[in-house]
């Protein structure tokens, strides 16, 4: 890689940064629906698994940032440097996992329960809206950041206020204590019916699947570290203004003490993002939603039976009823509203990130595509996935239920998370200069992550013959 000076890290620990996008992507159905549901079934002690999941994710985030800031390259480019088939593996997995409009369908389902608007109509309108917003935006990153951060801001403030009204200290204490009940697995969780659900929920703790990998693309677009040398993705109507994309990333002189000082500044910046914004906010939102779930469970034990016996697609409705019985109907409505918001936000963020990742890999590694502007390739993927999403919704219809789509996503998500932990160990220890490689503790955490994700996935397959749900 060519050597260039490392830019100076931002001086102030400013709250606005790419981590906000990751948080906005990460705080989704896992935090607001899947984990509260597990708490209703198995008690708050089951949340120790969530603590491990989110903590591993925070370290993973930090390590992805290490590669992106040091090189200005996406992690996909790093995978290609190791061995191109690894990168094509992630390209193919993304095509399998992220073309499904699962999040928006689940959100539209909740909206239908709340307002009566048919889910198919609102889901299709929501998908088209995503395409229109990005097409007309000047710089796509700015549009994504604005929309997602506004929605998450409203959700964080709203959930804090609503929980303040209906929750209580005892439930909060039980929730926090539950995070540290390491090793707690109730016998009923170790069954073919429920263990796959736990595996799926672990994959949905924090950013699931490839969202962490896409974070490296946001860092590049934000101009973090060596990403300052690479151009940004522009909206379709402004794509002509884009500067040409260089053929590779850059490296700084890791023997120069002055450059290493600047590097330390960047690692501090990312650490703040990973710990305060990502770990803190993700924890907070789930704690709030778990408090609400506990309240519901205590006041209405029938809900638990309904969830155990009922169809999965009925679970959202049952939980809304549970919340309604806990905090008056206020909570039932609030729950459905939040699910609708996170559903749309999830698809918006995922479709954008998917198109970034695929266009990044296609631009660099599919012969002949470099004569096109990368923004055009991005929009080909974006509108392609939107069109496909609409066809899927029309084809599956409301009877086949959106939850079926989420199940497929959760399985592949777990696998890809184990795989990227292995990839991170290789890129950061083989491709980066010695002075800026991860320490033994971070490496141990990432290795633990690989064992954690792949271990529970294959245990589920071998012991129960069941895929994650």
């Amino acid at each position: 890689m060519p050597i260039r000076p490392l830019p100076e890290a931002p001086h102030s620990l400013h709250i606005l940064g790419p981590a906000m996008i990751l948080v906005a992507l990460g705080v989704g159905l896992g935090e607001t629906y899947m984990w509260p549901r597990l708490v209703l079934l198995f008690g708050p002690e089951i949340r120790w698994l969530f603590l491990i999941g989110v903590t591993v994710q925070a370290v993973v985030m930090f390590e992805f940032a290490r590669y992106a800031i040091a090189t200005g390259e996406s992690i996909f480019f790093g995978a290609a440097r190791l061995w191109k088939p690894i990168m094509w593996f992630f390209f193919a997995v993304a095509m399998l996992i992220y073309i499904w409009p699962g999040h928006v369908a689940a959100g539209a389902d909740a909206l239908e329960l709340l307002t009566g608007i048919p889910w198919l109509v609102s889901a299709i309108v929501a998908l088209l809206l995503i395409g229109v917003i990005f097409t007309f935006a000047n710089v796509v990153y700015n549009a994504v950041e604005s929309i997602l951060t506004f929605l998450v801001g409203v959700m964080v403030v709203g959930s804090a206020v609503v929980a303040a009204i209906v929750g209580n200290f005892g439930d909060l204490w039980a929730t926090i204590a539950g995070l540290f009940a390491f090793g707690y697995i109730p016998p009923e969780a170790l069954t073919a019916a429920w263990f796959p659900v736990i595996v799926g929920s672990v994959a949905f703790a924090g950013p699931s699947g490839m969202q962490q990998m896409w974070y490296t693309l946001y860092l590049r677009d934000k101009g973090a570290g060596m990403g300052a040398y690479l151009p940004r993705i522009r909206g379709l109507l402004h794509a002509g203004e884009e500067e040409s994309m260089p053929s590779r990333g850059y490296m700084f002189d890791t023997e120069d003490p002055e450059e290493l000082r600047k590097w330390k500044g960047w690692t501090r910046w990312v650490l703040f993002d990973a710990l305060v914004l990502f770990w803190g906010i993700t924890m907070l939102v789930t704690i709030v939603f778990t408090v609400l779930a506990l309240q519901a469970s205590r006041l209405n034990p029938n809900v638990q039976q309904a969830i155990e016996a009922g169809e999965e697609s009925a679970a959202i409705s049952a939980m809304a009823d549970a919340f309604a019985s806990a905090g008056g109907v206020v909570m039932g409505g609030a729950f459905l509203l939040f699910i609708a918001i996170v559903g749309w936000k999830g698809t918006l963020g995922i479709f954008d990130a998917f198109s970034r990742g695929q266009s990044d890999m296609a631009y660099y590694f599919i012969p002949g595509l470099r004569r096109f502007n990368i923004s055009y390739i991005y929009f080909a993927f974006l509108w392609g996935v939107i069109a496909f999403g609409i066809l899927v919704l029309l084809f599956f219809g409301p009877t086949d239920g959106p939850q079926a789509i989420l199940g497929v996503l959760a399985f592949l998500s777990t696998f890809v998370m184990g795989a990227y932990c292995v990839l991170l160990l290789l890129t950061n220890n083989l491709l980066l200069p010695k002075n800026i490689r991860p320490g033994i503790l971070n490496n141990a955490f990432i290795a633990l992550g690989a064992l954690f994700y792949l271990g529970i996935l294959f245990y589920s397959l071998l012991a129960y013959g069941a895929l994650p749900d």
């Binding site: 060519p2 709250i15 964080v156 804090a160 206020v161 909060l172 040398y229 906010i281």
Partner: protein, 178 residues
């Protein structure tokens, strides 16, 4: 205090007050969607929204006086640590008054306050998050006549210009060296 100073003050405190009131509207809106009585909806919207709006304005005053820095997480969390529980206490009292139940502080006041204090961290981060979003849209509109807003804009602009300049220089260096 003359009319101009009142106007300047109102402008400076606008983002914080709007977010505080907005939080009350979210709570009231959820109550309305869920079909609670109009009295409950109004009391929740205003009873919680107004105290939060006042404290939100107070945050902006501290910001204007330079006692806390733009975008700082810790100062926001510390500020809302007492402010959020107090707002909730006012809300509970107003609900009791408004619904004719006779004022009774929540049972087990200390656990109530402790619970609200813990949740205040979440509210503070969400508040700051939205404030950092709304502020940069609002300050440029009033900077011509409002010196505090002009100061914020210059802070943001200096930061953005430094980032832009740095990026241009780096790109130039990379182009000449490629």
């Amino acid at each position: 205090m003359n009319a101009t100073s009142v106007r300047l003050l109102a402008e400076v405190t606008f983002p914080g007050a709007v977010i505080g009131l907005g939080a009350g509207i979210v709570a009231g809106g959820v109550a309305a969607v869920a079909g609670l009585s109009p009295g409950y909806v109004v009391l929740t919207t205003l009873g919680l929204g107004l105290p939060l709006a006042l404290f939100g304005a107070g945050y902006d005053l501290l910001l204007a006086s330079g006692r806390i820095r733009l975008g700082g997480v810790t100062p926001a969390v510390l500020y809302w640590l007492p402010a959020f529980p107090l707002s909730r206490l006012v809300h509970e009292v107003l609900l009791d008054l408004g619904l004719g139940r006779g004022v009774a502080l929540p049972e087990a006041l200390l656990p109530f306050l402790a619970y609200q204090a813990i949740l205040s961290a979440g509210f503070a981060i969400g508040f700051l998050w939205l404030h950092e979003h709304l502020g940069p849209l609002w300050w440029p509109r009033i900077r011509d006549h409002n010196p505090v807003a002009a100061r914020y804009v210059s802070q943001y602009t200096r930061h953005a210009a430094a980032m832009e300049r740095r990026k241009r220089e780096r790109r130039k260096a990379s182009e000449t060296g490629r």
